[in-house]
C-alpha cells in the first residue's frame, strides 16, 4: 500500500511544482527555455534529474545483476560521456545560440535539408528513449499493485503530457532539479539500511569461483560488445536531444562548461550506487530483472521499515520515469512543432500529444527488452549521427552540407536498422547478433568516414558563412566581435 501512496505523492508533487512554474511561463520564449534565468546549480541538478532515467535508476542494477562486471561500463560511459561532451561540445554549442540539434545543424551548415534530417533523427532517438521508460513504468506499477502493465504506462504518459502542456520548460526545470535530489535520496537511503543489514549478517561474499564477478566472461563476443558499448555511451551522450536543450539555459559558454563540471560530479555520486545494488542482489540471490532496486529493500530489511524503503525506491523510480519522459517530450514536441507543424504555442500543444502517444503505443506493441538495453540503443543512434555532426561541425571548417547529410544518413540509417532489427527480435546468436545488438563500434566509424570523405569530395559546398560561424562558436563572450545575426526561431 505504501508503494501506491509513494507513486501518488510523486505524481502530485510533480504536477504541483509544474503548476508553480506555470505562473511564470508567459511568452513563447519563456515557454521554451526558461528565459535563461536558471542558476548553475539548479541547471546542473536539472540536467542530472533529466538524464537519470529508468535505465539508470532501475536498469543498470538489473543488468549488472544479470550479466555481471561487464555491465559496470554502462554507468561509466553514461558519466564519461559528459567529459567528452564537456571538452568537445559544451562551450561552442552554447555560443552557437542553438536551442535544439536541428538549430545547430541549420546555424552551422546553413541548410534546411540537413536541418530536416536532424529533426527526423531527434524524433527517432526521442521515441526510442521514451518507449522503454513507459514500458518499465508499466512493469514497476504491476510489481507494486498487480494492475496490468499498460495502466502504469498510461499513468506516466498522462502526467508527462499534462505537465508539459501546462508549464513548458520553466516548470520542467524546477521539476527536474527536484527529481535529481529525490532520485539520489531514493537510492542512497535504502542502500544505507541494506548495507547495515549486510554488515550485520557478517558481510557475506559471493561463493568462491562465481564467474559473475569477473569482467569479459559474459556473452559470445564480450570484447567486441564491451568496446562497442564504450563507444556508444561515451559518444552518444552529446547527441541526446533532451540534454542539449539544457545548455541553452546557461548564460554563456563559460557557464556551460562549469555547469557540465557540476553535472559530472552529481552523476558520479549517483552512479556509485547501482553496482552495489547489483552486488547485494547477487549475494542474496534475487531473480535477475529490472525491478531489483524495488525488490531488494523489502527482501533485506523487511518489516514496516522495509515497506517504507520500498516505497521510497518506488517514488524514485517514478521520479525517473517522469523526469526523463518530460524532458524528452519537450524536445521531441519542440522539433515536431517547429519543423512539421509550423510553430506557435498551439502547434507545440498538438505536438506534445503526438510526442507522447506514439511511444506509448510502441511500448505496448514492442517486445520488452531490459530498459537499459533499449536506452543503450538510443545512445548508439545518437553516437552514429549527432556526434560526428557536432564534433566535425565545431572543429572542422571543411565540413560541407552534402558531407553532413550523407554522414547523418549513413551512420544514423545503419544504426536505426540495427536497432529495429534487434528490437524486432532479429538473429539470436553469433556475430550477426553481436553486431546488431551493439552497432556503435562499426556505425560510428562509418558515419565519421562518410562525413569526412564526402566533404573532401564536395569542397564547393562549404557553407559561405563558416568563418563567421567559427568566430561565434569559439570566441569568449567578453570580446566584442561580429558573431553574425543567426537566431533560433522561437515559433
Amino acid at each position: 500500500m505504501s508503494g501506491i501512496a509513494a507513486v501518488v505523492l510523486v505524481m502530485l508533487a510533480t504536477l504541483l511544482i509544474g503548476a508553480f512554474g506555470l505562473r511564470m511561463a508567459r511568452t513563447t520564449s519563456d515557454f521554451y527555455v526558461a528565459s535563461r534565468t536558471v542558476s548553475p546549480l539548479w541547471n546542473a541538478s536539472a540536467i542530472g534529474g533529466e538524464y537519470l532515467s529508468a535505465a539508470s535508476f532501475l536498469g543498470i542494477a538489473g543488468l549488472i545483476l544479470t550479466f555481471g562486471a561487464d555491465m559496470l561500463w554502462l554507468p561509466v560511459g553514461w558519466t564519461g560521456g559528459y567529459l567528452v561532451l564537456l571538452v568537445l561540445v559544451s562551450a561552442p554549442l552554447r555560443r552557437s545560440g542553438a536551442y535544439t540539434l536541428p538549430d545547430f545543424a541549420e546555424a552551422r551548415l546553413e541548410s534546411m535539408a540537413v536541418r530536416r534530417l536532424s529533426s527526423v533523427l531527434v524524433v527517432v532517438i526521442g521515441w526510442l528513449y521514451l518507449m522503454p521508460q513507459f514500458q518499465s513504468a508499466g512493469l514497476v506499477f504491476r510489481t507494486i499493485t498487480g494492475a496490468p502493465a499498460w495502466a502504469g504506462s498510461l499513468l506516466v504518459a498522462g502526467v508527462v503530457a499534462t505537465n508539459v502542456l501546462s508549464g513548458g520548460m520553466r516548470s520542467i526545470t524546477f521539476v527536474q532539479a527536484f527529481q535529481y535530489w529525490l532520485k539520489l535520496t531514493a537510492l542512497a537511503v535504502p542502500l544505507a539500511f541494506m548495507l547495515i543489514v549486510w554488515w550485520g549478517d557478517g558481510s557475506p561474499a559471493l561463493p568462491p569461483g562465481d564467474d559473475w564477478i569477473l569482467p569479459l566472461h559474459g556473452p559470445e563476443h564480450p570484447v567486441y560488445e564491451t568496446y562497442s558499448l564504450i563507444l556508444a555511451t561515451f559518444l552518444g551522450t552529446m547527441g541526446l536531444p533532451h540534454v542539449l536543450v539544457r545548455f541553452y539555459t546557461n548564460p554563456d559558454g563559460r557557464a556551460a562548461r562549469r555547469t557540465t563540471l557540476v553535472v559530472l560530479t552529481l552523476l558520479g555520486a549517483f552512479y556509485l550506487m547501482p553496482a552495489v545494488y547489483g552486488f547485494l542482489g547477487r549475494v542474496y540471490g534475487l531473480p535477475a530483472s529490472d525491478t531489483v532496486v524495488i525488490g531488494l529493500p523489502g527482501r533485506l530489511v523487511g518489516g514496516p521499515v522495509g515497506d517504507l524503503l520500498t516505497a521510497l525506491a518506488t517514488a524514485g523510480a517514478f521520479a525517473a520515469f517522469l523526469s526523463t519522459s518530460s524532458g524528452l517530450t519537450v524536445s521531441v514536441a519542440g522539433v515536431i512543432a517547429q519543423d512539421i507543424l509550423g510553430g506557435g504555442v498551439r502547434s507545440f500543444r498538438v505536438a506534445t500529444v503526438v510526442a507522447v502517444v506514439i511511444p506509448f503505443a510502441l511500448a505496448g506493441a514492442a517486445r520488452s527488452l531490459p530498459v537499459a538495453t533499449v536506452v543503450g540503443l538510443a545512445f548508439a543512434v545518437a553516437a552514429s549521427s549527432f556526434c560526428p555532426l557536432l564534433v566535425l561541425g565545431i572543429w572542422w571548417r571543411r565540413l560541407t552540407t552534402v558531407g553532413a547529410a550523407c554522414g547523418l544518413l549513413a551512420g544514423g540509417g545503419l544504426a536505426c536498422f540495427a536497432v529495429v532489427t534487434t528490437i524486432a527480435g532479429g538473429p539470436r546468436s553469433g556475430w550477426a547478433e553481436a553486431l546488431l545488438a551493439q552497432p556503435a563500434a562499426w556505425t560510428v566509424p562509418v558515419s565519421f568516414t562518410v562525413m569526412i570523405v564526402v566533404s573532401l569530395l564536395t569542397p564547393s559546398r562549404v557553407p559561405r558563412g563558416v568563418a563567421r560561424t567559427m568566430v561565434r562558436l569559439h570566441t569568449p563572450e567578453t570580446l566584442d566581435v561580429d558573431r553574425g545575426d543567426w537566431h533560433p526561431r522561437f515559433m
Binding site: V87, Y227, V481
Partner: protein
C-alpha cells in the same frame, strides 16, 4: 596603441557597469576588427584560438581513450588482474564502480581551468596591443 596614450596627468575615467554592457559599448578595437572583416590576420588569430582549444580537447580525449580503452585490454591480456583483490574487493570493481568517477571529475576540473585560461589569453591578446 596611438589612441590610448592621451592621459594628460589626469587619471583615466573608468566606466563602471556590467561587463556585458561594457563589451557592447566599448569602441571597436582594431584587432577585433581584423576578425570582423575576416582579413588574413584575423583568420590567423581565429585559427590559432581554435587550434589551441582543439589541441586541449584532443589531449583530454586521448588520455580518456587510453584509460577507458586500455582497461578491457588489460583485463584481456592479464587475466590474473580480473580476479586480483584490492582492499578485499576485486580490482575491476574497485576501478569501474569507484575510482573512475572521481578521476572523471578531476579531469574535467583541470580541463575547465585550462580552457578558461586559453580564452583569457586570447582576450588579452585582442584587447592589449
Amino acid at each position: 596603441m596611438p589612441g590610448e596614450g592621451r592621459v594628460n596627468g589626469k587619471p583615466r575615467r573608468v566606466v563602471v557597469m556590467s561587463p556585458r554592457a561594457a563589451a557592447a559599448r566599448r569602441p571597436r578595437h582594431p584587432l577585433t576588427r581584423e576578425i570582423d572583416e575576416q582579413t588574413r590576420l584575423g583568420e590567423v588569430y581565429m585559427r590559432s584560438l581554435v587550434r589551441t582549444q582543439f589541441r586541449l580537447a584532443l589531449f583530454v580525449c586521448t588520455v580518456l581513450a587510453c584509460v577507458v580503452g586500455g582497461l578491457p585490454l588489460l583485463f584481456l591480456l592479464v587475466p590474473q588482474l580480473r580476479d586480483a583483490r584490492l582492499f578485499g574487493l576485486p580490482v575491476p570493481w574497485v576501478v569501474l564502480a569507484g575510482l573512475i568517477y572521481p578521476a572523471f571529475v578531476a579531469g574535467a576540473w583541470l580541463y575547465v581551468r585550462q580552457a578558461e585560461r586559453n580564452e583569457r589569453d586570447f582576450a588579452d591578446l585582442m584587447e592589449r596591443r
